[in-house]
Subunit: 280 residues, 2 copies
């Protein structure tokens, strides 16, 4: 039996083959699904699969967010499953669920998200401590991406609380993520919003080459160029640049999928242009 | 149009009519479902509904945990929906999902958990700050229960980090919960594990009469008597005493439901006995 390739290695393979750091956040809003697809859960499923079909060439990975599927009601997990199944197997899929719970419960989440729905990685919340994340961290071949400094304006309420020693809390979390990546079989990454370039630089300085998921690259007003300049690791990689609305809703007519594909390609190229000068 | 009765008021009404502070955590483990019910998602659904049928007389509320349903795979949300529908309407139901995300995403969670699946309250994680919880806090008639000091051994990793001023972080969170309960339409409660009586006392001192959800009363080894003595509010109430495994798996044979009912009644009575002397 050979050891499974790590999540970080698979992500890097895909980045190289697609020449892309772009991640598309699959956050379907039912009212924005083109009328030509009908309505309800089936239309949302069709919409997401069409987006995958038209954008997959340009992405390093996808990131569906659980909330946009559970809002569909009882059918939501079936739709999420259909969408995950529609993504080509060489493209990693990160479930954005920001989960964290006590041991037995965390093991149940791991079974659901890794074994049953077959996600390659999940996002997790560190507030409950290391033992609440252990069932995820123990999974060889999977990715565990810890929310550290999030993109929302109020993220400082708790994340920037100064702890004894003077650091803001999020840097303490970054230090823990560094230790977990070395201590556990899973690949450990961090979430830092593209709205906080200065904080991103501070986190990159603490975590070496670890993966950083950068949400808010599109509609949330994140600073793409500033974030890339401080966020790329020593190998000019290590960033998961996630955009959602700016790609998913690039067009609203009959060729919405074509418009999304063009927006994805354009954003991939924009990232690569900045990247070329950032590492020069 | 009359204002909806608050979650805290509805919970208090139910406590009085049932004479109970007991909450049953619906955390179904497929391998522990009696063989007589078959297997798979349908058996889990039947098991939970049988447990509700046999225990509802003795409870103030139920608390299904999302993880134990998503571990069933794509059918998980359908099962959760069936179980929620089987609970009598005068008994509040708290979805334990420990959610927290940026605004647009949090609004999607609120739609799913409050509007589509009709839960009366949800548990939330404060790590992302006030604006990430605002879409839940804005919901009149619903409950928002913030994890503060959780029952797991490693909860101190982040929750007990000393912040500038000397308090551990969880007390800063408790102070925020107090302010949110006063500022927003929703009823705001807190989660404090029954494994931490000293910390529970410190939180109760900060939050007045607010609701505290006390998980770990049964199998997690929580200190029921010690927790009740320090955790009850000035009205001898304000505690949601949650037990799961000790009730759900009280019996494993053909009369598993009867055994669960007897365990629930006995735990309700034990809580009331302690409560009678605690407030005397």
């Amino acid at each position: 039996m050979t050891s499974p390739v790590s999540f970080a290695e698979r992500l890097d393979q895909r980045r190289r083959s697609a020449g892309s750091l772009l991640c598309i956040g699959l956050d379907p809003v039912p009212s924005k699904v083109p009328a030509s697809l009908g309505s309800g859960a089936a239309a949302v499923s069709r919409f997401c699969r069409d987006i995958v079909e038209s954008t997959h060439e340009w992405v390093s990975c996808y990131k569906p967010n659980l909330a946009f599927f559970t809002q569909l009601g009882p059918a939501g997990l079936e739709v999420l499953h259909e969408v995950r199944q529609a993504i080509p197997r060489d493209i990693p899929v990160i479930l954005d669920c920001k989960v964290g719970d006590v041991g037995e419960t965390a093991r149940a989440y791991a079974r659901g998200w890794f074994d049953e729905l077959d996600f390659d990685a999940i996002t997790v919340n560190p507030y409950m401590g290391e033992d609440s994340l252990e069932p995820f961290l123990a999974r060889e071949g999977r990715g565990v991406i810890v929310i550290c400094k999030t993109s929302n304006p109020g993220s400082g309420d708790v994340q920037n609380v100064p702890v004894a020693g003077g650091d803001p809390l999020y840097l303490t979390v970054a230090d823990r993520c560094r230790a977990w990546d070395q201590a556990y079989p899973a690949s450990v990454g961090l979430v830092v919003g593209a709205t906080w370039p200065e904080e991103l630089k501070a986190v990159r300085d603490r975590v070496g080459d670890q993966e950083i998921l950068l949400p808010g690259v599109g509609a949330q007003g994140g600073d793409l160029e500033g974030s890339l300049r401080v966020g790329l690791n020593a190998r000019g990689s290590g960033l998961i640049c996630s955009a959602s609305r700016s790609v998913l809703y690039a067009g609203s007519g009959i060729d919405f999928a074509g418009a999304a594909g063009a927006a994805a390609r354009s954003l991939r190229d924009e990232i690569n242009t900045i990247r070329a000068t950032a590492v020069a």
